[in-house]
Symmetry: C2
């Protein structure tokens, strides 16, 4: 029967999604319904050449697996740190979290090798697209996503569309400043929320405390083989370490004030937090909003994302939305 | 000849514009080409009743003068401090810069008395509309206006339209915070750019210096009958007063950092400064952008408005644009 055939075609339609972060390079096969069929993770290489080579290798392997899994790959969606021109598929500029990653045409080499259409978008914007298609942003006209991972990124949806701005530099939310001085940031400025509240900023503080023998408290141990992390800082604070607690309070305040600045600029109805630290920041951010936002902005909802992999899902959503928009 | 008649009709079309600020209540007759035909200024009354009464009185007088000046008034445009629902013509909420000014239906009483259509919009948004129709914003798709007057307001144009946000609280740019602590603000928070860089903030600092006999330097005098103002602080700094200079540097940095936050959120191609302090802030803001904005946001132009009365002109532009859109 014809309708079954169409259902079957729709079910097998899928995307290759690539996520280029400060730490990892990930590739996934993602189905039309947002199911991650298969996922591959490697450390993100430090040079341009090694990185492109690894992307192509991982994608080619994934294509072989896709055939085995009966997935028809319609295209490749790439989420990357840095500022992106999505019309051209070019990474314009990246901070030093990803090295050798400026003026990089990502579309041409990948499209040439895999013979598939390629979409490229900033990771924060991908996270917003993911929420819009699969998460809390479904049907919400104005919302903002803030991702607290290694760095801090974000995406802004206004009137159901991403805001890109005049030079594709909109929603660089990690570099909203909440201090005239403040800690140094990877961007060259100071006092950015990324320099207070990102995974890297917290890890730096955890390491500093640990080096001074001030991190561990009773009931806490560290695995020798793993580096000290933001999570250790959170654990220490929960177990009563006042220094860890004070660092995290400042981080939460900084992130909260940065988000209030977003509310007073674009006034969304919803803020979605994602990234490894999302659930930790949910309550401090709500608290800062109630203390410092204008009364008219108080009605905002703040939620933690329940998507497993927003960047990958958002990268996939570009492929799934654009290709099917053309076909049907 | 018919075409001359139409030209004549077009030339005589005009608007009543009302501007409700922290200090003054102003009414003007404004022609289609943005000429201020006649302007009336009074102190803005402190109570709701007196304010509405004075608006109606000033508008009625202006209507009589309009007939004398051969101006056909098409409607009333109102610019006001506070957050506004322009669809309903209602002031939702105002900080204490304008007292008794929350949940105020401005459209009904004015429309009922003058028998004219009435538009109401936030003063910062009006300034942006004025730039769009008559000033530097003509033909610019994405720009932001920041007004440094008694308080600080602003308006954001994205894709040629004002951003209002989900609760008409977008572009509350005066309450972007650039410090986790910082000076107290009229909104109840701290560290807002309004609390550092507004006319009122600078006046407070000027008064403090003057009370401690630290304001006046050689070559400078104050008129006894006039209160100390932000302009006196600027004069003192220019004449070598290091304390005045330091206060103004902090104010410029705070405003600049606040504007960089706007660039990293909506990434406009142009920032227009208006209000009495615009020309003073132009160069410090440019300097802070060059020091602290991401490289991709460095290309932004910062200009001082050359409109005499952005709030009034923007208020008029709503009338002139909407009514003529309907008629022709
Ligand atoms: Ca972004
Ligand atoms: Ca405004
Ligand atoms: Zn930064
Ligand atoms: Zn404030």
């Amino acid at each position: 029967c014809i309708s079954q055939d169409i259902d079957h075609i729709l079910e097998t339609q899928s995307a290759l999604a690539v996520d280029l972060g400060g730490t990892n390079l990930r590739v996934a096969i993602i189905s039309m319904k947002g199911k991650i069929v298969k996922k591959y993770t490697q450390a993100n290489p430090k040079t341009y050449e090694a990185r492109i080579e690894l992307i192509l290798k991982m994608c080619s392997e994934a294509m072989v697996d896709a055939v085995r899994c009966n997935c028809r790959v319609l295209g490749v969606g790439i989420s990357t740190g840095g500022r992106v021109n999505p019309q051209e598929g070019v990474v314009l500029h990246s901070t030093k979290l990803i090295q050798e990653w400026s003026s990089v045409d990502l579309r041409s080499p990948i499209s040439d090798t895999l013979h598939l259409p390629v979409w490229v978008e900033n990771d924060g914007n991908c996270a917003a697209l993911a929420e819009k298609k699969f998460g809390h942003g479904k049907g919400v006209e104005n919302f903002v996503t803030v991702i607290t991972g290694t760095g801090i990124g974000g995406g802004i949806v206004q009137h159901n569309e991403l805001i890109h701005g005049s030079t594709f530099c909109a929603a660089e939310l990690g570099h909203i400043m909440v201090s005239l001085e403040g800690p140094e940031c990877s961007c060259g400025s100071r006092g950015c929320i990324e320099s207070y509240a990102s995974g890297l900023a917290l890890q730096k503080e955890a390491k500093r405390l640990h080096d001074e023998d001030l991190l561990l408290v009773e009931g806490m141990s560290l695995k020798k083989e793993e580096p000290v992390s933001a999570i250790d800082l959170i654990n220490a604070a929960r177990l009563g370490n006042p220094k860890a607690d004070s660092i995290l309070r400042t981080a939460g305040t900084a992130l909260g004030v940065g988000i209030v600045n977003i509310l007073h600029t674009v006034n969304p109805s919803l803020v979605i937090l994602s990234g490894v630290l999302a659930s930790f920041y949910e309550s401090p951010v709500q608290q800062i909003i109630s203390q410092r936002a204008l009364s008219s902005a108080q009605g905002i909802r703040v939620v933690a994302s329940d998507l497993e992999d927003p960047a990958l899902l958002g990268a996939a959503s570009m492929v799934l939305d654009y290709t099917t928009r053309r076909i049907y």
